[in-house]
Structures are given as C-alpha cells and as structure tokens.
C-alpha cells in the first residue's frame, strides 16, 4: 500500500464523535433566541459564553457517562476519582486491574481531575473520545501522575488507559503511557 493510499485509508477510519450535548444545547438555545426578537443591546459573545458555561455541567455529565434521563432504568455511572495511587511501570496492567476492583471512595486529588473542566481539557489534549470511567491520582514510577480509564470508542472489548501528568490539559501535556486493555482477558 503506498503512503498516500494508506494515509487516505486511515483518515477515512478516524472516529466521528457526535456533537456534544452541551454544544447542541447551546446552539439550539441560540437558534431559539433567533426566532424571537433579538435584544440588540446584548453581546452575542457574552451570551455564547454564558450558554457554554451553563451547559458545562451537561458536558461533564455527558463526558463521564452519567445518565440524566428520567428513564426508569437509568445506567448511572460516575467516574471514580481516587487519590493516593502508587503504580509502577512493571506489572502496570495487573496493578490497575487490582485497583479497579477496589472502588474506594472519591476524594480530592489536587490535579486536573478535580474539576469537570480539567478532565475535559485533558481529554481534548490527549484526543481521548470515550467517557471517563475513573481517574486515579498518585504516582507512576517516580513521577506524579493521573491514570485515566476511558471506554474505547468503537470497540467495547477494550478500555483505554492513559497515564498523564497532573497538569494534563494545560500548557504542556505529558502522556507517560497509553494502552488498550482487553476487558475480556
């Protein structure tokens, strides 16, 4: 396969994440305003910012996979946020499995994982698409790190694990490790 043909084939297979609920809500709200009288004294930009901010909670809910539906059988799943993790590069997958089995309790981590905006920024930086299932803050080898586990978009057989620096999503994003975990193994 030539380089160009391979590039085209890979581009065609890039995932197509659906429009986030927060963006849909903001645009639909804005279009609803357009259908009424537009108050010309208000800045469109400030309204957009307000709408985006107001929708941030919805975005987080969407990101982390929490169902807000009034369905009688909601699949509620909040990300587990844990502090104090100690991971070593050797045998990492086994350590992770063990820790995932211990739900523990959510706790502040003093990292980006403490806020919805922080998790969103990190996911954007690492090109992660799947909903976040857990964030374990602590150390990975000698380094401070956060281990994010997300669902793998496109194949439920896998979960995606990212070991990132605690300031992921800010000026510099460091991905220390990135693996797919076969959930059936």
């Amino acid at each position: 396969m030539s380089d160009e043909v391979e590039v085209r084939a890979r581009l065609a297979r890039l995932p197509h994440p659906p429009m986030p609920a927060s963006v849909t809500a903001a645009i639909e709200a804005r279009l609803a305003e357009e259908r009424t009288v537009i108050p010309i004294t208000r800045s469109h930009r400030s309204r957009l910012n307000w709408l985006v901010a107001a929708a941030a909670a919805v975005a987080f809910v969407s990101l982390v996979g929490v169902s807000t539906s009034s369905s009688p059988t909601p699949v509620a799943q909040t990300p587990v946020i844990r502090a104090g993790a100690v991971f070593e590069p050797a045998g990492f997958a086994e350590q992770l499995r063990s820790r995932m089995g211990n739900e523990g309790s959510s706790a502040p981590t003093a990292t980006f994982a403490d806020s919805a905006a922080g998790i969103t920024a990190c996911m954007n930086a690492i090109k992660g698409y799947g909903p976040v299932m857990s964030a374990d803050a602590g150390t990975y080898g000698e380094a401070n790190a956060v281990v994010l586990v997300t669902r793998y978009v496109g194949n439920a057989q896998y979960e995606e694990v990212w070991v990132v620096a605690p300031d992921c999503g800010t000026s510099q994003t460091v991905v220390m490790r990135h693996i797919l975990v076969d959930v059936d193994s």
């Binding site: 890039l14 903001a26 693996i179």
Partner: protein, 194 residues
C-alpha cells in the same frame, strides 16, 4: 413524508419556526465532525459552529439552490472555522511531550489507535487550506468537486491541497514508525508487547 433539506430551508424562509432546527438536527453530527477537525479544538469548533448556524439562519434567504443545502451549510461552517482559527493563531497551544507510548497487548488495534492519534495530531498542524481539503475529502468523504464548491476554489486546487497535505501526513506516519530515521519505508508496526 420527510421534507428534503431544500424544502426545510424554504419553509424556514417562509416563516416555519421549526424548519431550521430540524435541518440543524439532521446534519449536526457531520457539521460537528468537520468543525472539530477544521478548527483544531472543541472550544473553537463550538464557537465557530454556533456562529455559522446563526449566519445560516439569518442568510437562508440568500440560498439560491445552485448547490446542495449541505454544501451551502458546510461552506458557511468551514469559513467560520478557518476565520476562527486565524483569529486564534496567536493563542498559546498545548504542547505534547510524550515520554512513552507502549503497547500492553500484541494486537493490531493498539498500534492502529496510536497511529490514529498521531494522524489526528499531524492533521491539526497542516496549513489551514490543506487541512480543510483533507477533512472534507478524506475524512468526510466529499467528492473533489463538492469540496471545491464548499471551499470556493477549483477542483484542481483541492487535489493539489490534498496531495500536499497527504504527503506531510505520510511523512509523519513514517517518522512514527521509524523514529530513528534512515529513510526507508518500514512495514506497519504490529504491536510489540511489553
């Protein structure tokens, strides 16, 4: 019977309060995909897409029907995204410093996912005109002629931009597979295990 895009747009112009919203709902995911990869960040894509939808809402009366409604919508979205991207170029960008990418399992899926990430990152670094052409033709599957109408340029220009962009992307994939250089084209990595 489901209304066509053109019928919805005409209904909107005629005063139907719900028609444009239905048009937006029908095409929003594809418009989002284009905006996301043309803008380079979800935040910029959200801003640009909202700006574009409001522009389309207001300018619907100017649609002359000489192209598909989706082509018209995409043209507005791509232009808004490129404008946004030009305005934001001075903004600090996130720098990736990867210490390590490893494969825990000897599976093609893992290698493919890594290449996918590299490809997305490389795509974001292409010049605006090349990125927009590649997003529309290679990622979204539009024909060269339709992409030319969206980007308001000649089909030959689209082909040229795609070709130059693909060459850059291919070079990046080669670097990923062959980080020590050497210039030879190596076969795709097939996972390595740890």
């Amino acid at each position: 019977m489901t209304a066509t895009d053109a019928e919805l747009l005409a209904a909107h112009v005629a005063g139907d309060a719900d028609a444009f919203g239905e048009l937006f709902t029908r095409h929003r995911d594809r418009l989002w995909a284009v905006a996301l990869r043309t803008s380079g960040s979800p935040e910029d894509a959200a801003d640009a897409l909202q700006e574009a939808m409001i522009a389309a809402f207001r300018r619907a009366g100017s649609f002359r029907g000489d192209a598909a409604v989706t082509t018209w919508l995409h043209r507005i979205v791509v232009n808004a995204c490129l404008d946004q991207h030009r305005r934001r170029k001075s903004r600090p960008t996130t720098t990736w410093i990867e210490s390590l990418h490893e494969r825990e399992y000897d599976r093609d899926d893992v290698a493919n996912r890594e290449l996918q990430i590299e490809l997305e990152r490389a795509l974001a670094t292409l010049p605006d005109d090349q990125r927009a052409a590649i997003v529309l033709v290679d990622v979204e599957g539009y024909s060269v002629d339709e992409t030319a109408r969206i980007l308001d340029c000649a089909p030959g220009t689209v082909k040229s931009r795609c070709s130059r962009g693909r060459a850059r992307l291919a070079a990046r994939l080669l670097e990923v597979r062959n980080p020590d250089g050497g210039g030879s084209v190596l076969p795709p990595r097939q996972g390595g295990g740890s």
